[in-house]
Symmetry: C2
Subunit: 93 residues, 2 copies
DNA sequence: AGCATAGGCAAGCGTTCACTTGCATGTCAA
DNA sequence: TTGACATGCAAGTGAACGCTTGCCTATGCT
């Protein structure tokens, strides 16, 4: 779980998760394009690739090779555990 | 919210939140002691103080001065927003 | 085969971060 | 008032981080 928190610390990685929420199974180039179009971010392809590596190592992204394409899919499971660790205590009634 | 994610990136800060979940209104020294007792961590007082500053800046900790004591209390509200940003999609039925 | 496309590897660079050290401020009790 | 206690401020250091650059591998199409 330590890797999950570190993965979320970067804004670009959070935006990548946002884009994957919109649609699963996106390639590196698709995600690069959307960062530029939706968020005016123009990091290099390698930078985005490294971000995706971090997300995958944290278990937040699953990948699948299909021919020369590598498809990325979000996995929200680790995120649910964050809210569970520090649950909002019930207001005394 | 960006500060919230960065605040959570450090393990010591997450443990501080854990301790504040156990009991609110703890002083800097109390938290230092608990890090040592419960987690075998012995950072200096200043290091812990800086961590608490980060947590406060992120809105995850509220403080109140009472005489020479500064009491720290957790605020879980920002944490709930994390799970809301990337909700687990319902499995197709 | 030849070429374009999609992605991978690795070194280098500047910044941020966590931490320590040293000193200063403020509060309370005797 | 004096001393002990709780906290604050600031500079310095080493490591981690995000990013770029340059080159390499692999797949698919004509």
């Amino acid at each position: 779980m330590s890797d999950v928190y570190k993965a979320l610390a970067d804004e670009t990685r959070r935006l990548l998760l946002d884009e994957l929420m919109q649609r699963d199974e996106q390639t590196l180039f698709e995600l690069c394009t959307k960062l530029a179009m939706h968020h005016d971010l123009t990091p290099t392809r390698q930078a985005v690739s490294q971000h995706l590596d971090v997300l995958e190592a944290a278990g937040l992204v699953r990948t699948e090779r299909r021919g020369r394409y590598k498809l990325h899919t979000i996995n929200t499971a680790p995120l649910a555990q964050i809210a569970e660790r520090w649950p909002t205590r019930r207001t005394r009634t």
